[in-house]
């Protein structure tokens, strides 16, 4: 394809198809994890390889890398069975064959033109409950995927346009929230129908060959753009490592280590020094690991597009024995925690090579908290949500207070909606002072959420991380505060023995749980922060006086003004 103008036009048109599929599902989904948290994604994928051609802009970033593996799984299945027909739609949630975890249900629809597959349309969404031992499926003590939920391999949900209602019945029978599942499934079907209509219109308008050529050319240019980015980096080998608290079963830290090798026009991401596969659910599949590296890279190099070409100049080394490359039935339900740590080490490694491009680590845990019980009427309720924290300080300024995780664009439900829907009352919803990592540019603040139970009793589950290893800063910035979870018992307040993972605490009426989330890591040395800005942070309550002295070497007088002499002394003492 030689016409660069038509290419720019088609790029916009194709992206619009994917964006519109996203929007349709968000509006019609039943469960808030899709509708509010946008834990879903849609795109167009290569007919033979499954490579990402175009992906919607508003879906969950992690799927941008993961979905091509899911589509490839369907392509291979169809090749084995040899019965692919127009109107077929596959459904599955196998995490080993398509990335992420069991909660993510993928629908793949081969899109036919003149009797041949032109490309694949796919939709993925995080369903509210897919069975398993724990409502909401974040089971922090799972040792096999069977304890995390049902596993559906790629099967035909539609045959030649005909819905197989048996499959729908099986799915519904395996969920605690069959209605929610049914609503989300319908939303995904609607999105694929719409995508197929729009793509057909586009092909009729521009011609199949033109569009096919444009897709190939966009891949080529994405690779070119990525190579241009790589060329600007200093060559060398950069090492970074970070840790997960534990796997929920065995209280031993797990290492995620990256050797980043920057060559003239390619990168090697070598995770060989990482821990081996573990017993608990923080393993991930290789496809998930690659997808998370893609997310980190796209956060650093914002101009690279969402297509497979970006990964072309990148080689991944992930040993099959690693916790970053497991197979069934190793549990993977807590994949979010592990990929956040992978992203953190990618940031830390690139920060050594090119600190002007990279931010401090974000809060680094999804904090999946659920409270579940039965109402007086006997009706079951499950309140499940992810909670936020701070973003890292960055070259241009302080980190964002209370942001969403780098792998997602999720928003948090309003507490008034939660209180209206569930028997809980929030007693605090606030920023957490001192939680941002100190730095020339301070990390953003994490949050404090405190929730009291209004019903007789409830079970509490938490799947979090960063309880023992706080989010690090970069470029000599300091770490944030770690995650702290507290729950009330008749014998007083308690913390989970596994730091941020907890199963089935029984809470009684009036008792509270309290989640204090990490901030983001700092950027640059804290003692280079202007004392006036530290004083401002103290005035606004982002930083306490004690932390101002300890972390920033800034002393304030009784009125909150900078004590210049004392500050100079303190800063000098440290420098010496």
């Amino acid at each position: 394809m030689t016409d660069p103008i038509l290419l720019a036009v088609l790029k916009g048109r194709l992206e619009q198809v994917a964006d519109e599929m996203d929007a349709t599902l968000f509006r019609s989904a039943f469960n808030p994890i899709i509708a509010e948290a946008h834990d879903a994604s849609h795109g167009l994928y290569h007919a033979e390889t499954g490579a990402t051609l175009v992906q919607g802009k508003s879906g969950l970033p992690i799927f941008v890398g993961a979905m091509s593996f899911a589509v490839r799984a369907v392509i291979e299945k169809a090749r084995r069975d040899g019965d692919l027909a127009d109107g077929d739609v596959y459904i599955f949630n196998d995490p080993y064959d398509g990335g992420t975890h069991l909660s993510d249900f993928k629908l793949v629809r081969p899109f036919f033109r003149e009797g041949r597959v032109f490309c694949h349309l796919a939709s993925v969404g995080h369903w509210h409950d897919v069975g398993g031992n724990v409502p909401g499926n974040y089971n922090p003590v799972a040792t096999e995927s069977f304890q995390e939920g049902m596993l559906i391999p790629p099967v035909k949900l539609f045959r030649r346009g005909e819905l197989n209602t048996d499959i729908v019945d099986i799915l519904k029978a395996n969920s605690r929230l069959p209605l929610s599942l049914y609503g989300d499934l319908n939303g995904q079907i609607n999105a694929l129908d719409l995508g197929a209509r729009r793509l057909a219109q586009l092909l009729d308008e521009f011609g199949d060959d033109t569009v096919r050529a444009a897709m190939a050319e966009l891949q080529r240019r994405a690779a070119m753009l990525m190579r241009a980015n790589i060329a600007e980096l200093p060559k060398g080998r950069y090492l970074a490592e970070d840790f997960l608290d534990n796997d929920g079963i065995d209280d031993t830290p797990l290492r995620i280590a990256l050797d980043l090798v920057i060559e003239k026009d390619r990168l090697i991401l070598d995770f060989s020094r990482s821990s081996p596969a573990c017993l608990g659910p923080v393993n991930i599949a290789r496809s998930t690991a690659i997808a998370s590296c893609y997310v980190a890279i796209k956060h650093i190099f914002r101009d690279v597009p969402a297509n497979a070409g970006v990964l072309e100049p990148i080689e991944f080394v992930i040993p099959e024995t690693s916790l970053l490359s497991v197979r069934a039935p190793r549990p993977v339900g807590g994949y979010t925690e592990t990929i956040l740590r992978v992203i953190d080490v990618v940031f830390q490694a690139f920060a050594q090579a090119s600190p002007e491009r990279v931010n401090g680590c974000a809060y680094g845990t999804i904090n999946a908290l659920s409270l579940a019980g039965h109402r007086g009427s006997g009706q079951r309720w499950v309140m499940f949500s992810f909670f936020g924290g701070g973003h890292g300080g960055h070259p241009e300024g302080d980190g964002l207070n209370h942001g969403n995780a780098p792998i997602s664009t999720a928003t948090i439900p309003p507490l008034e909606i939660l209180e209206a829907a569930y028997p809980v009352r929030f007693t605090q919803w606030a920023l957490r002072p001192d939680s941002g990592g100190p730095g020339r540019h301070r990390g953003g603040l994490g949050a404090i959420y405190e929730i009291a139970l209004l019903e007789q009793s409830a079970d509490v589950f938490l799947f979090g991380e960063r309880g023992r290893f706080a989010p690090p800063g970069v470029a000599s910035g300091g770490p944030a505060l770690p995650n702290v979870f507290t729950y009330e018992t008749d014998a007083g307040p308690r913390h989970p023995p596994m730091a941020s993972k907890m199963v089935g605490i029984r809470l009684r009426q009036g008792q509270r749980v309290r989640l204090e989330t990490p901030g983001g890591g700092g950027y640059g040395p804290a003692r280079e922060r202007e004392p006036e800005r530290v004083a401002e942070d103290v005035r606004l309550g982002y930083v306490t006086r004690e932390a101002a002295e300890r972390d920033y070497g800034v002393r304030l007088d009784a009125d909150g003004r900078v004590d210049e002499a004392a500050t100079a002394r303190m800063r000098k003492a440290v420098a010496a």
């Binding site: 916009g12 968000f26 942001g403 405190e450």
Partner: protein, 690 residues
């Protein structure tokens, strides 16, 4: 104190650069247009200058005003120092937002709330989700907080309590206590501003309202004082973001409703002009320096959005005309990314320094530069009157250096590529509001207003497949014209949050009826004559379990026995709305009513648009101004040039052609034709038919 001769109605739209005034004397079948420079810092001065240029103030009966005072204060963060008094444990709701970030990719975002943390004070109080007051508010604690805010210099305050949507009693009690010590009327109470569930959206809207109160109220006070001093004895009305007008008193109390005042007036005018011309389905296109704004009118009705965000994290939740904005304006910069792809925007040269051809220091080519290079804009007579001439050569050089060479194209081909990519982005915005919402583009006409849109609408109707384009007779003063036309409107919302099966339908009927009566009462107080009033009733509904709702218009009208709502009627209305939105209904799933909405509109008299039509003695010959070369579809064409305002009714112009008028330029591609209708609108369509 209307003088016996006061019969003029005047619309005034104060924009960033110009203040546009439209004078209408319908009795005398006379109108006049004035354009004066806006006076930044004190908009009232330019406003009065504009008025005095066209009439004696004593002759004016009504002034209707589209204002950007509130919009600018939000965008530039120049509102009042504002405090918040809120529930203990929740002062950071405003700063924590909904845990979002400004961009999907890149983690470098920042957010500074308009109320700093030390001015957000907490008091003991709590209401539960069902409206039960768990802890009453202590008046002395509120007074203490208020004194502290005043000591910090706060000029406005907002009271925001958790679950106040369900029961505003604690907020009312706090307001009563606050009134003892607060020295001014700049107080916003969340349950009065927006009694709707979702604490962040309510808190943001209420605090932004307080933030704007002193600014907008002072401005309107100054304006009214100067008008009165000049002998004006009529009414002043302010355009709201929903396209209706409100009294000055209401605007001072609810300034957050003016956030999109100016653009809303433009959309209202487009709707009216197009309807009169026989086109009830319109997509308005407003191309400015940095952005391209589109809005959809279907069946004569504007589409309303429930909320908008002014920049990151500043949510204004109040019904407003839905305007979709993309960063592709005349000043948007064209550049080649490192993958070799031509991109337009989002970076913009704005209007200062503006495009390269302005010669004010920008060297990177913009969309306007491409139009100049292609001969579509007359470099010798730029619109707006700010510059004497445009520098074509420098624009050519910028296109050559930044677009043509990297792409290996000639300069003209490169400029045309810039236009093509810009058009394709604009077409994307039009598809978003039309095709993506289930509308068929063939049923719609594009209507450009503002200065730049008419250069591109021809191409857009081809690219999206729209029926035609309608260029109003005076595109540059559309918003001022809209002020004269706009109806008066009051919106109300209340959260219900009940399953349809458990809903007390009679109580809902009563409450919606009472809101409608309240709206009528407010209309009656405004001192404005109406042709009639209408009330619209709507519910926000979903299936149980969904978090997004669909707007469900109810077929209801106030009558002797209430509105006549029934459970079955509501169910049927929901199913119809849901099917329109998503195609398939869900069997056996309960339905939920989240909010009720009531809108009461007082219809203001509309004037006869034939007043704007060309004079009877206009002729095609007199309008023809020779020709000039224009580059299109890869070649130079000799395009005929016309003085647009001198074209007679019924005149037909074949493309390629350029139509010039003081505030706008219309470009007709070779495969397009245009015709002047009986109102003076210029209707552009394909020569071949769609």
């Amino acid at each position: 104190m209307k003088g016996p001769r006061a019969s003029l109605v005047v619309g005034v739209d104060v924009g960033g650069t110009f203040t546009d005034v439209f004078f209408l004397d319908e009795a005398a079948r006379r109108f006049e247009i004035a354009k004066v420079p806006s006076t930044r810092g004190d908009q009232a001065r330019g406003f009065i200058d504009g008025l005095k240029g066209g009439a004696r103030l004593a002759d004016i009966a009504t002034v209707v005003h589209g204002t950007t005072v509130g919009t600018n204060a939000l965008l530039e963060r120049k509102g009042a120092l504002t405090g918040v008094i809120t529930t203990r444990g929740f002062r950071d709701v405003l700063e924590m937002r909904r845990r979002d970030r400004p961009t999907t990719w890149g983690l470098w975002g920042q957010f500074v709330p308009i109320v700093p943390r030390d001015l957000r004070l907490e008091v003991g109080e709590r209401t539960l989700a069902d409206g039960t007051v768990l802890e009453p508010v202590n008046p002395e604690e509120v007074r203490e907080a208020a004194r502290l805010l005043l000591a910090h210099g706060a000029e406005a305050v907002s009271i925001i309590f958790i679950n106040a949507y369900a029961n505003g009693a604690n907020e009312e009690a706090a307001l009563a206590a606050l009134a003892d010590v607060w020295p001014n009327p700049h107080v916003s109470v969340s349950s009065r501003i927006l009694p709707e569930i979702r604490e962040y959206e309510r808190a943001s809207t209420a605090s932004l309202n307080a933030y704007l109160q002193p600014v907008v109220a002072n401005y309107l006070h100054r304006l009214q004082t100067r008008l009165r001093e000049g002998g004006f004895g009529g009414e002043v009305l302010i355009v709201q973001s929903n396209g209706g007008v409100m009294s000055v008193e209401t605007a001072g109390r609810l300034p957050v409703r003016t956030a999109l005042s100016g653009p809303a007036a433009g959309v209202i005018a487009c709707g009216h002009i197009a309807r009169a011309a026989g086109h009830p389905n319109v997509i308005t296109c407003d191309m400015g320096g940095t952005s391209f704004d589109v809005s959809l009118i279907a069946g004569g009705e504007s589409v309303l959005a429930a909320q908008t965000s002014i920049g990151f994290g500043m949510i204004v939740r109040t019904p407003m005309i839905e305007i979709t904005t993309i960063g592709a304006g005349g000043g948007s910069i064209a550049w080649i990314d490192r993958g070799g792809l031509l991109q337009i925007g989002p970076e913009s040269a704005g209007s200062d320094p503006g495009p390269v051809c302005y010669g004010l220091g920008n060297t990177r080519p913009t969309v306007t530069d491409a139009n100049v290079v292609l001969g579509r804009i007359n470099a010798a007579r730029p619109i707006g009157g700010k510059l004497a001439a445009l520098d074509v050569e420098t624009a050519r050089e910028a296109i050559r250096l930044h677009v043509a060479e990297p792409l290996g194209l000639g300069i003209e081909a490169a400029a045309e590529a810039v236009i093509r990519v810009a058009n394709s982005r604009m077409a994307g915005a039009i598809r978003l509001v039309s095709i993506e919402r289930g509308h068929n583009p063939r049923d719609f006409v594009a209507m450009p207003f503002g200065g730049g849109g008419a250069l591109h609408t021809g191409a857009l109707i081809k690219e999206v497949g729209l029926k035609s384009a309608l260029v109003p007779r005076f595109p540059g003063v559309t918003s001022a014209l809209g002020c004269v036309i706009a109806d008066m409107r009051h919106d109300f919302v209340r959260t219900v949050n009940r399953l349809l099966d458990q809903l007390d339908v009679a109580a809902l009927d009563d409450e919606m009826g009472a809101l409608a009566a309240e709206g009528e009462r407010l209309l009656g107080q405004a001192g404005v004559g109406f042709e009639g009033t209408v009330a619209g009733f709507e519910l926000d509904m979903s299936y149980l379990g969904q978090t997004h709702t669909v707007a469900v218009p109810l077929d209801a009208a106030p009558g002797l026995t209430g509105l006549g709502l029934t459970r079955d009627g509501i169910r049927a209305a929901f199913e119809a709305a849901y099917r329109r939105a998503f195609g398939r209904l869900l069997d056996g799933v309960a339905m939920r009513v989240l909010n009720m909405r009531v809108a009461v509109t007082g219809r203001r008299p509309k004037f006869d648009l034939t007043l704007l039509a060309p004079r009877a003695d206009a002729s095609l010959q007199a309008a023809a101004k020779g020709s000039r070369p224009v580059f299109v579809d890869g070649a130079w064409h000799e395009a005929r040039v016309f003085a647009r305002l001198e074209l007679p009714i019924g005149a037909i112009v074949q493309g390629p052609a350029v139509l010039e008028q003081p505030d706008s330029t219309i470009f007709l591609d070779p495969d397009l034709r245009g015709e002047v209708d009986r109102f003076g609108n210029f209707i552009v369509s394909r020569k071949e038919g769609p």
